[in-house]
């Protein structure tokens, strides 16, 4: 039984590229093209892991992350944040501005090398 990964990103080209990487490693992939859709699919698709973009127009990745972690049915799903800016700065800025600790399980900068992405996903799934 292959593991199911939900990709949430407003950029369809990026979603497609990441999908191809994951499918080549025999993961089952579901896609959502925005934060709100991502939250819905997290409930309906029952993914084993979520790859989550940060900067999305309707609901940004941090908010999505917070809502997922607040939901007792979903809070066990590991979340890999995909950021377009240097991850350290992105998170510390967010922490500073919103007074929130992000609860994502890992961060990764995009674009990402396939082997790096796969390795990080494997590590999160193994936890």
């Amino acid at each position: 039984m292959p593991k199911k990964i939900l990709i949430v990103d407003d950029d369809p080209d990026l979603v497609e590229a990441v999908t191809m990487i994951l499918e080549s490693k025999n993961y089952e992939v579901a896609a959502a093209y925005g934060g709100i859709e991502g939250l819905q699919k997290a409930k309906t698709e029952n993914p084993d892991l979520i790859v989550l973009d940060v900067m999305m127009p309707d609901k940004d990745g941090y908010v999505v992350c917070k809502e997922l972690k607040a939901d007792p049915k979903l809070n066990k799903i590991p979340i890999l944040l995909l950021t377009a800016v240097i991850s350290k700065i992105a998170t510390s800025r967010y922490t500073q501005q919103m007074g929130l600790e992000t609860e994502a399980d890992d961060y990764i900068d995009k674009p990402v090398e396939p082997e790096v992405l796969v390795k990080r996903i494997e590590m999160l799934l193994a936890k």
Partner: protein
């Protein structure tokens, strides 16, 4: 030189008023020998006419007391009213002490009894001329002093007008921290009325606390090298006004601090422009970054043959395309860093930091890169290093950049030195390479945005890929920490970058440039 000196005219004029022709001629003969001009009058009336006509020119008057018509005493009275400073020597015919005393009481300077010898006459006249010189000297000095006082008053009023008209604020404290001068611009900028500043001591006048600290510091410091401090202040609850304050101690010739001067500049409009520019850059770069990241992700997928087979030629072309997108993303990352620093966003999480730990971590991370080039990366830590007040990520960024640069510019097999120590109120870290060095004309521009040293050598020895933003980012971060960065280089002899960062314990003294 004759005793007349500089306060006497070249020609000395002596007026002789006597009814006896023999006396007039005698005096003329004797006095002419000394080069003095003698004017004669045969009675009091004519004498007074001469005096009225040229009182400025006449230096001494010889006046016979006993004359027909107007008497000598009468003439003396008139002379005193015409010009009380005129020196009159009375000639007394009868050697009577009474008339001489009376004449002296009326203001005559001296008397000479008849008959007299030529020498006696000369002595009396000379003495009078000496007195005349002193008189003129005193008069000259008095005028000079009046003029100087007037000049000072004018100068004071001029300076006051200049200071009051200035757009920049000027605030002067005496050595006790009492405000002795404050122009209208200060009140406008600090939003404090002049009356609550002037004559008040620093703690009483509700001054911006950072500024008050700096002024106190400049008054208190015995360090002669401490010359001026420059700091940025934000005024108002919402921080809408930004000021740059330059504070310098005033010292007397013994080097004692007598007070301090602060000049305030309103830099709000500059800050505003800067912020707009940074926000624009941030917006553009974000908009740029997303599509390029997507393109690179797609290229990566194709290159990994996840979208089917790729021919060798296709792989070659796509690899090069990917290199180009990587270069673009690096540029954007640097631009983002810069715009964030300028927007004051990165360097906001200052904490007490041990720079030794930070540098050790960076050195460990960079070791692989150094070993690839067979470069010996040496870090000689100091045993006890004071903490600094800094943002950890920014500090890591600074030293990653400097050390990575040093490795890049050092030829294979040589050494890169990283040193850490202290200097005054600062922690001092330096990174030295043993590379090609930097030309003098490039040194001054090395911290400019987008500036890259270009030479055939740099192209050959090192394949430098970069955006030219690295060092300007480093400088922005150092500036945001109130530190300084300097570079020393010899062409062909290597380059050393030195970073000074204020120690944690003493933040107020380190607010800016020490020159």
């Amino acid at each position: 030189m004759r005793f007349a000196g500089s306060f006497m005219p070249d020609q000395i004029n002596i007026l002789v008023i006597d009814d006896e022709q023999i006396m007039r001629e005698g005096c003329t003969r004797i006095l002419s020998k000394d080069g003095w001009a003698v004017i004669c009058a045969e009675n009091g009336t004519k004498g007074l006419e001469e005096i009225k006509a040229q009182s400025e020119k006449i230096d001494v008057i010889l006046l016979d007391l006993m004359m027909p018509g107007m008497s000598g005493m009468e003439v003396l009275d008139h002379v005193r009213t015409i010009d009380p400073t005129l020196l009159v020597i009375v000639i007394t015919g009868y050697a009577t002490v009474e008339s001489a005393v009376e004449a002296m009481k009326k203001g005559a300077y001296d008397f000479i009894p008849k008959p007299f010898t030529p020498d006696q006459l000369r002595i009396v006249v000379k003495r009078a001329l000496e007195k005349r010189t002193l008189q003129k000297e005193a008069e000259f000095l008095r005028r000079e002093r009046e003029k100087s006082l007037r000049d000072i008053a004018t100068e004071k009023s001029k300076i006051k007008t200049i200071i009051n008209c200035m757009g920049d604020g000027v605030l002067v404290c005496d050595r006790d921290g009492c405000i002795v001068l404050s122009n209208p611009a200060v009140s406008r900028m600090l939003k404090i009325s002049e009356s609550s500043l002037l004559g008040n001591f620093l703690p009483q006048c509700n001054l911006h606390s950072e500024l008050a600290n700096t002024i106190q510091e400049s008054l208190a410091t015995p360090d002669k090298n401490y010359t001026s401090v420059s700091q940025e202040l934000s005024i108002g609850e919402s921080g809408e006004i930004f000021l740059r304050a330059h504070t310098a101690p005033v010292r007397n010739d013994l080097g004692e601090t007598m007070g301090s001067v602060t000049v305030l500049q309103d830099i709000s409009h500059l800050k505003e422009l800067d912020k707009m520019k940074s926000e624009f850059i941030a917006m553009v770069t974000h908009e740029l970054r997303a599509p390029i990241a997507a393109v690179e992700q797609q290229l990566t997928v194709i290159l990994n043959k996840m979208a089917g087979d790729v021919t060798e030629k296709q792989e070659q072309l796509l690899s090069r395309a990917k290199e180009r997108t990587k270069g673009l993303l690096d540029l954007i990352k640097d631009l983002l860093d810069l715009s964030k620093i300028e927007a004051g966003k990165i360097v906001q999480y200052k904490e007490p930091l041990n720079l030794q730990e930070v540098i050790q971590k960076v050195v460990d991370l960079m070791r692989a890169q150094a070993e690839n080039k067979k470069i010996d990366l040496q870090f000689s830590p100091s045993s006890q290093i004071s903490l600094i007040h800094a943002d950890r990520n920014s500090m890591e960024g600074i030293f990653t950049n400097l050390i990575s640069n040093a490795i890049k510019y050092t030829p294979e097999g040589r050494t890169v030195f990283v040193q850490l120590g202290e200097e005054g109120g600062f922690v001092k870290a330096s990174v030295s390479d043993t590379g090609i060095g930097i030309k003098k004309e490039d040194l001054s521009r090395i911290f400019d945005k987008f500036y890259r040293v270009k030479s055939s050598e740099t192209r050959q020895i090192v394949q430098i890929v970069g955006t030219g933003l690295g060092l300007s980012i480093v400088k922005s971060i150092v500036d945001a920490h109130l530190g300084s960065i300097s570079v020393e280089s010899e062409e062909g002899g290597g380059t050393t970058f030195t970073v000074l960062l204020p120690k944690e314990s003493n933040p107020s003294i380190c607010v800016g440039e020490k020159s």
